[in-house]
Amino acid sequence: MKVIAPRIALIVLVLTLLVTVLGCSGQTEPEVLRVATTTSLYDTGLWDYLEDIFEDRYDADLQIQAKGTGIALELGMNGDVDVVTVHDPLKEAAFVAGGYALNATVDGNSTARVTWAYNYFIIVGPASDPAGVGSLTGSLAPEEAFQKIQQEGALDPDTVRFVSRGDESGTHGKEKAIWASAGYNYTEDIVGNGTADGWYIEAGTGMGATLVMADELMAYTLTDKGTFLAYQGDLDLVPLVETGDIMLNVYTAMICTNGVNPGMAQNLVTFLRAPEIQALIAGYGVPEYGEPLFYPWDPEICGLP
């Protein structure tokens, strides 16, 4: 009897393990989907809000990293993520051209760039508005504001300053586009001379941190409206320029060619454009901030499909 006892114990152990393993495989493990998103989406809390709904609906484990557009696309190229959600049309075009994006199906159409929400960039600054950009209106207001900031900043860099993301993010890309549209050579006139004069401050950091820095330094900066609204409570900065064609900010999702889970990636794209989710996006933040942080997809503005 004494010799048999350990054997029985061993059999029981093996059976237990077997049952455990079988039990597990019977239950489906949630599929992992890795997403790299621009910080401006993440800092508003939108992704946290959507994550649970998506995971429930598709039995997925959504793993989201908030990155600047530059590194987000880099992660996508290397296949370190399955989906990227960014907002830099030029970089996105290059990504697609490089063959890093798979075509996704939305509303019966096939496309590599899936636009799914938009809002606007705004120029914010101290309430005192030393460069006097608050009164500008019209479709060229952003360019005119940048010109004023550059001129006043060069004259009095202690009073008029501009904080730039400087991190090759989508927002940074937009800022560069506005400088160019305003007639400047970004590298020479702004980064070169502006840094030397001291009015142009290249922070090299995320949107939230850039807003905090602009607030501390009582400087102007360019921000997407969603992040600004989310941070507004802690800041003394006020929105100064909210109009202008160039300020449009469209968010895109792309399925990465080198990703490991294109099926679930397609699910996410479908999800983002689903009418009931679009309604959630449109309503997100309204109770807290009094206005929407994002507008739902609109073919007139975002383009087809």
Partner: protein, 228 residues
Amino acid sequence: MTEIWDGLTKAVQLLISLDPAVMEVAGRSLTISATACLLASLICIPLGSLIHFHHFRGKRVLINIIQTLFSVPTVLVGLFLLVLLSRSGPLGELRLLFTPTAMVIGQMILITPLLLGLTISALSGVSKEIADTATSLGASGSQAIRLVLKEARYAVLAAVMLGFARAISEVGCALMVGGNIRGATRVITTVISLEAGKGNLELAIALGMILLLLALIINIVLNRLQQR
């Protein structure tokens, strides 16, 4: 793998060409961390001696706290300073946030426990009879302390080295209170973080190599000093 190789090649290129932007950032890293380390040493070595040579209630507890703070997270120091130096903070009037001075202060705070603790243990390594002998030969209290410090000079130097290494390699505090502003508060570690964020991995790796090289040079120089 190609990225690492490209990074190495780029590092060599940047070093050989003495790329002005890289040199500027490396120089700033050195200046800020060396200043922080020097100032912290000027405070911590005398203060550590004071703690070591005096008996008072709660000394053990104090030393325990100091040792615990060896591993204070850099972002915590950054956060503390951010709140302190912010425009709305108690020291906001000084206008120090996002300046190299703020980074020096941050690194000083960061390495102070390390320098204090290691100075105390360096002094503990010197036999009590050394101080006794000095006193019996007519050394005043401070003269005896200076002699014991001299006896412990290599261990103290090692403490300073470690402090410098921690200062120059930290990124959390530098990013938070320095702000990584081009031409002003951009140092090697914050540039690495920025370039990696831009997806510019080669440059980030190159800068990382330069940081390691810098650490190596400093170590060799100090080791030479120790062997004398």
